[in-house]
Subunit: 458 residues, 2 copies
């Protein structure tokens, strides 16, 4: 079957494919906020209908949360499972968006055309690159070079609570030769990349309570400990002067980088000054003795994602507040155990608050880091396919983010997973003004068409 | 002139005096909400009429905000200015009130009769103790033992924007031998108290910006410094392990407590365990080497009143935020200069942020501490008068809060001010279900009758 014709069909389809993506982006499928539950259903319905147009056998599967979409499309070659997620992040702070996040549009930018809107890059745009590649194969040849299972989730941005039970209950239906995941980016916005390691995640929300009620800072200040000061001390104490996390046993299960991987990463000549410069910074943070790529890909972190307490409105209120709150997450590597890290944080918080304070925890969650089996032959085939499409040869890279599903495919379904994506560093995913380059969408679709062709080869 | 007859008249008048106070409390003179402006006028009119009934020459004086009430009542002895405020706090949250805040009533409570309603204690009830004392003197003797100027404000709960200009423009008319202010409380709800020192205030809001936009904590975490961590470090660094504020020069203008005052405070046998226990705490905070009353009255503090940044909604968002915010206030003592303290905080913040961060400040404000001249003979006279009325001898106490008007009398009119009040710790001022004990109202009125008698003595 001719790949050339398929690529030409993708080029021809681009305007219509873009319209389809805009339609999906208009559905505000924010998974973390119950007010948007109905829209998550709509996004799932939209995908069911679109896959049916491809000729797939599709069903929407209800879960205790948002539904899964599961579709099967016949094909000749190996059996691939493609995973993506149709849910999106909340849009706050909404006043920093230049356009309505759910009224997406194709816009001109100094770097070319972009698709602007919440979910354009994470993950609706990426997900649709694969769907559009399948559509072009189908339109040109009437069939696909591989057998495909589509697996779309609607809870990725809210911790995927239904994912593991669903995978366990539908293990047979989900089984395939390898899983493909499109939720990552190009290295340095340019080099096609296959992820070989992902950091894990551990999260916990902490509330500390000092005085039983908010106090007048004049009447009580000086004798009563301020919970905001105590929380600040807790946060400040989590890193030492070398940027290392101070929690007991935190580095116990963190391996050193193998020399071979270190050499590969060195060859990437990562421009960290540009990486920082793009976000207005010049100074590196983090562990002083590590290289920038190690810090981003193979070293664990501890971050406060949210912090609040006291009076945060306009003007001044001289309150000595009762409570302080912080949301913590850790990025994990190697064999770090999320439960052990969370236990260490709890123990540290308890030891750091005054004895008359109370502490409560919630939002506990965790997923270990993942390491891909690049000895699987699909990896080298995909690397060739990507290198054929893009000006730069494809690279094996790490990823600082956490995509727990990669580990789940291995642990629950005993399948290897290959993460390939076309996002760029300035896509502003999880932030206002999210976008996906039209080039990412177009060449991403062409990339998958090529990957399907390569993987179908013996 | 017989004081005994005046006190008997006050006892006889109590039911009528209570009715008058209830009438004033029925006027919803909330100063901060423009919807109540007319009611502020009504409260001022009510006071004008009541002072006229006493035989005073009274006028309502318009300001850009709510009016002042200024009245003069002839008398034999020294010239006293009495200050109070007729405006009240808003009543939100209204659903936490057990009764209508503006349908006040005399109620039975386990601790005796209370006058329940907004403004009962702050400050209409307190203000009327003085007016009723004058009324009894007038009724019994046809004249007063002192010459009185009444000065009632209607903007105290909304920042007193008209106060300084009014004092400057009417300096001659407001001049008297000493100012009396009735807006404070009994020490430990029991001991009559004269305030001899008030802490000052300095405030500043700080915003620090690291990366230009919110980042994905997986993609950037480890290489990029988190502004929430930097802010936590700034806050944690503001106190040393002994609870002292670390800002350069912070204690330069903080005097040691004179031995005489220290001995007086020691004699008060302040029950700090009960004070902390009432708010659910057992441990003292603050400077380790200071006594509880020093910490509350004569030592400066640094408090974060509000702190925020990142994602603070429900659930989790793995953001590495662009900005962190904190609102700081300092309680000042002695000769501490608010401008100098604010400059020291700014300089510290600049030194504590990474060189590629930006910092911005707003909401700068300050007022120095006030120290009363207790060598003024009126103080010992008032102390004797209060000690005669109450079971406990009156005490000279400090006040950790900031009551700027005391300083204004000194700075603008070159008058000393004496702060005496009869509020109790559980009056719930600024909160739902505000009350004033009938005992506070009754013995407060008797206290002022005695103070007038003492001050009239040569």
């Amino acid at each position: 079957m001719s790949l050339t014709a398929v690529l030409a069909q993708i080029d021809k389809n681009l305007p219509a494919a873009t319209e389809r993506l805009l339609e999906l982006l208009r559905i505000p499928s924010v998974s973390t906020d119950p007010a948007y539950a109905e829209h998550c259903q709509s996004a799932a319905d939209w995908l069911v209908a679109d896959l049916e147009r491809l000729g797939a056998t599709v069903s929407k599967r209800e879960t205790p949360g948002h539904p899964m979409v599961l579709g099967h499309l016949a094909g000749e070659g190996p059996h691939l499972l493609f995973y993506g997620h149709y849910d999106v992040q909340p849009v706050d702070p909404i006043d920093l968006w230049d356009t309505d996040p759910f009224d997406p549009a194709l816009q001109d930018s100094p770097e070319g055309k972009v698709i602007r809107g919440r979910g354009a890059s994470d993950d609706k745009g990426q997900l649709m690159t694969f769907v559009e590649a399948c559509r072009a194969w189908k339109e040109v040849h009437g069939t696909l070079p591989c057998r495909i299972t589509f697996f779309f989730e609607g809870e990725e941005e809210s911790g995927s609570p239904s994912l593991i039970p669903f995978m366990q209950q539908n293990a047979a239906e989900l089984s395939a030769d390898i899983a493909l995941i499109c939720d990552t980016g190009l290295f340095e916005s340019r080099v096609p990349a296959i992820i070989t390691m992902l950091r894990g995640l551990a999260g916990l929300e902490v509330e500390i309570t000092g005085p039983q009620r908010d106090l007048h800072s004049g009447m009580y200040g000086g004798l009563v400990r301020n919970p905001l000061h105590v929380m600040a001390g807790i946060i400040a104490g989590l890193h030492d002067e070398n940027g290392r996390v101070t929690l007991e046993g935190f580095y116990d299960d963190v391996p050193e980088l193998p020399d071979e991987i270190r050499a590969q990463w060195q060859a990437l000549s990562f421009d960290h000054a540009k990486f920082l410069g793009d976000i207005g910074l010049t100074e590196q943070g983090g562990e002083v003795e590590r290289t920038p790529l190690e810090k981003l890909w193979s070293r664990p972190t501890c971050e406060v994602n949210g912090l609040w307490g006291g009076y945060t409105g306009d003007g001044s209120k001289t309150v000595l507040p009762s409570k302080a709150h912080a949301k913590f997450t850790f990025r994990l590597v190697g064999q770090q155990d999320p439960d052990k890290i969370i236990a260490a944080l709890k123990s540290y918080v308890h030891s750091a608050v005054p004895s008359d304070y109370t502490v409560s925890f919630k939002g506990e969650k965790g997923a270990p880091a993942a390491q891909m089996s690049i000895t699987h032959p699909a990896f080298e085939k995909a690397r060739k396919a990507l290198s054929d499409e893009w000006p730069d040869a494809a690279a094996y890279v790490g990823c600082g983010g956490s995509i727990p599903i990669a580990g789940f495919f291995k642990d629950i379904l005993n399948m290897d997973a290959m993460l390939i994506g076309f996002g760029k560093d300035d896509d502003q995913i999880h932030s206002p003004n999210e976008k996906y380059d039209l080039e990412s969408f177009h060449k991403g679709t062409r990339s998958w068409a090529r990957v399907l062709a390569e993987l179908s080869k013996p």
